[in-house]
Assembly symmetry: C2
């Protein structure tokens, strides 16, 4: 298990369900603490990685695959699918927070079931409340949460050129953008307003300022 | 244009981007008022339908396809992609509300870009605020919004057997479920809690009660 001394600086990478691929493997750094949630754990093992922690109800893999995960992981926590109240990804992010990680990245988690996708994105709020720097990404999206009052610097990215802002609270106010193609100055976004969708950086870097509420910062590509 | 006399009872069906397919065509009823947003308009025309209204910036179809849409639609509104503040789907739902429709279904709208998917789902809040019965569906999901205080009856469905509840406000409270496999009684869901994900009906029909806040009711299948 990671000690609190390392976990304060080390990044926890949580592989979960959804569309995983070569792009996800390329994110892994030697220093990462690797957590596999359900099928995400099997994906890591399949690709020759040894998860520090595998967890979930493992209802998306068969018994033979589960045995492989158990054998190849440093630690494995299996939960009863009936009795558990949380999704596997929520179990994983809560365990990462409990173990003291301050940088957490969920890899995958977006797929055809919108309930799973949105629930995974909403998990960023749990990490944010614990003072963690958390994000979720897949091949087409990198999503993080900005809580007001606060600001976020954004570097231009070939991989995810589009920057969209969507409110995660009924109202997000005092939104000012520096360095963007479509500027905003002390703007307010309410649930249902698509004004913040599909912005682009006009300079090599930009900043998003938010006074009140919560914003999802979604970087993506077509 | 639909008169207010008919639009109060007629359903507006908004075809938009994302994954469209045979399942979407099978939703169309003779009595529907058909709106096509951008590529959704072309999809309708391609399949032999005559949209009552086509609208958008049409940046996702080429000039020849746009000509086909213009020729085959009763009415066509083209917007400048640079000057417009709203996505094509927001333009469409606002136009449907303005024309007096009280039943609105967005068809499509979920895809690989999570910003577009979530923005489209959040549009349900605009319709809800205007007293409309609105939903969004694709092949795997049917999503609607429940505002508290209120309740929603749910019939069992082969197509979308799973019922998930996710809060759309920081807190949704007084949630009680009747007829579900995993019951809730006066429960509270906060952003980031996945407790409401993947429920199932235990009886042919069930009811969701909500006292305060907003819940997304997501019916889906694996």
């Amino acid at each position: 298990m990671a000690t609190s001394a390392t976990s304060a600086t080390q990044r926890a990478l949580i592989f979960t369900g959804g569309q995983l691929g070569d792009w996800s493997i390329s994110l892994i750094q030697d220093s990462d603490y690797l957590i596999g949630a359900d099928r995400g754990a099997f994906y890591l093992v399949q690709h020759g990685f040894r998860p520090h922690l595998a967890l979930g109800d493992f209802d998306s893999i068969d018994a033979r695959q589960f045995k492989q995960v158990q054998d190849a992981s440093e630690e494995c926590q299996a939960y009863d699918p009936i009795d558990k109240d949380w999704t596997d990804t929520e179990l994983a992010i809560r365990e990462a927070i409990k173990r003291g990680f301050k940088k957490i990245k969920i890899v995958g988690g977006l797929g055809t079931r919108f309930d799973h996708s949105l629930a995974n994105v909403q998990l960023l709020a749990i990490a944010d409340a614990e003072g963690c720097d958390a994000s979720l990404c897949d091949e087409n999206n990198e999503i993080s949460l900005l809580s007001g009052p606060g600001s976020r610097d954004i570097e231009i990215s070939d991989r995810y050129p589009v920057v969209s802002l969507l409110p995660m609270t009924p109202v997000a106010s005092g939104i000012t953008l520096d360095g963007f193609q479509y500027p905003l100055n002390e703007a307010t976004l309410r649930t249902g307003m698509s004004l913040g969708v599909s912005n682009l950086l006009a300079e090599p870097s930009g900043t998003i300022h938010l006074r009140e509420g919560r914003l999802l910062v979604i970087r993506c590509r077509d």
